[in-house]
Symmetry: C2
Subunit: 184 residues, 2 copies
């Protein structure tokens, strides 16, 4: 079976501060033509932080796209010129004022490959301590930290109180690896 | 802590066949003003299909947004007027020519709430049989089905061969629930 689509032409149809929309005309393997619409977005990182007392750190914040509050693991965009790991270290500092002795990438994935190229790396962070030097925070971001044990986090996914893909993923990963953060 | 942002004005800045981009001017809890950019997308469904011989069904397809092939669980948009469960039944038929005796929603989540309102429901499907009446397929969608046992699927996530968020989620969910598809 042949899959590859050849891009015949492309144009940027929307350019915003956060996303760019691109339209492509492509030739399919059967030589017919189709149109593709792609939302370009910076790569991103997300971090499952597990404390020494076996709790995960979550952020309560307002999300315009959802029109309400969400509970999410710390996350953010990888800035131009930055590596994913650096972005993870920076976001932990900015959003939680913590640093991690161990920071390990456990998966990398496209958040919704049907329409966007956003590529996210999920890290697990343990050995958490307070940072010495706090980085400046985004002025328009209001974040409240919460801590939850695995059992409560699983119940909140089930109850629909946690409704963020990367956070659900992180919780299910943790469920599979209950040793994270030290022996129980 | 106050979180709610008040929407002062909004306008559609891009309208395409798949997505719509909206710009909002919002007032933050501290009464300052900020701009929000939101990519509107139809809700979606995804289905972890587990066969009687304990394999998951995956689709190999070309994704323009990624510029390459991906391995993903069956998924698709919920069409206007359709319920999520109906969309799951329809997509299984269209993309895999199968129907499920048991179809259960296990989580609902925003795929990337930092910029889009796409809301996805993840189903688990078991008791799979061939459909009697095949629905028409999308003309511009080329799909090749694959079957993988859990162990191989986990190895492919680790190796970066499976790089789709909903598929990684589904595999980790399955790892937590190895009883899916019958006793081993």
């Amino acid at each position: 079976m042949k899959f590859e689509e050849r891009v015949e032409s492309q144009q940027i149809v929307y350019q915003g501060p956060l996303v760019q929309v691109e339209k492509q005309t492509v030739t399919l393997p059967d030589q017919t033509t189709a149109t593709r619409e792609i939302v370009r977005h910076q790569p991103a990182i997300a971090v499952l932080m597990v404390t020494a007392d076996h709790q995960m750190i979550l952020e309560k914040q307002w999300r315009s796209a959802v029109g309400g509050l969400t509970l999410e693991i710390p996350a953010g965009k990888v800035e131009p010129g930055e590596r994913a790991l650096q972005a993870a270290v920076r976001e932990l500092n900015e959003e939680t004022r913590m640093q991690a002795a161990h920071l390990e990438a456990v998966a990398q994935f496209y958040t919704s490959p049907g329409f966007t190229d956003e590529l996210m790396t999920l890290y697990v962070a343990t050995g958490l301590t307070a940072v010495n030097t706090a980085l400046p925070q985004d002025a328009d971001e209001q974040i409240q930290l919460e801590k939850l044990p695995l059992k409560t986090a699983l119940a909140q996914v089930q109850a629909g109180q946690i409704q963020d893909a990367k956070t659900v993923m992180a919780i299910w990963y943790w469920q599979n690896h209950p040793e994270i953060g030290g022996q129980r």
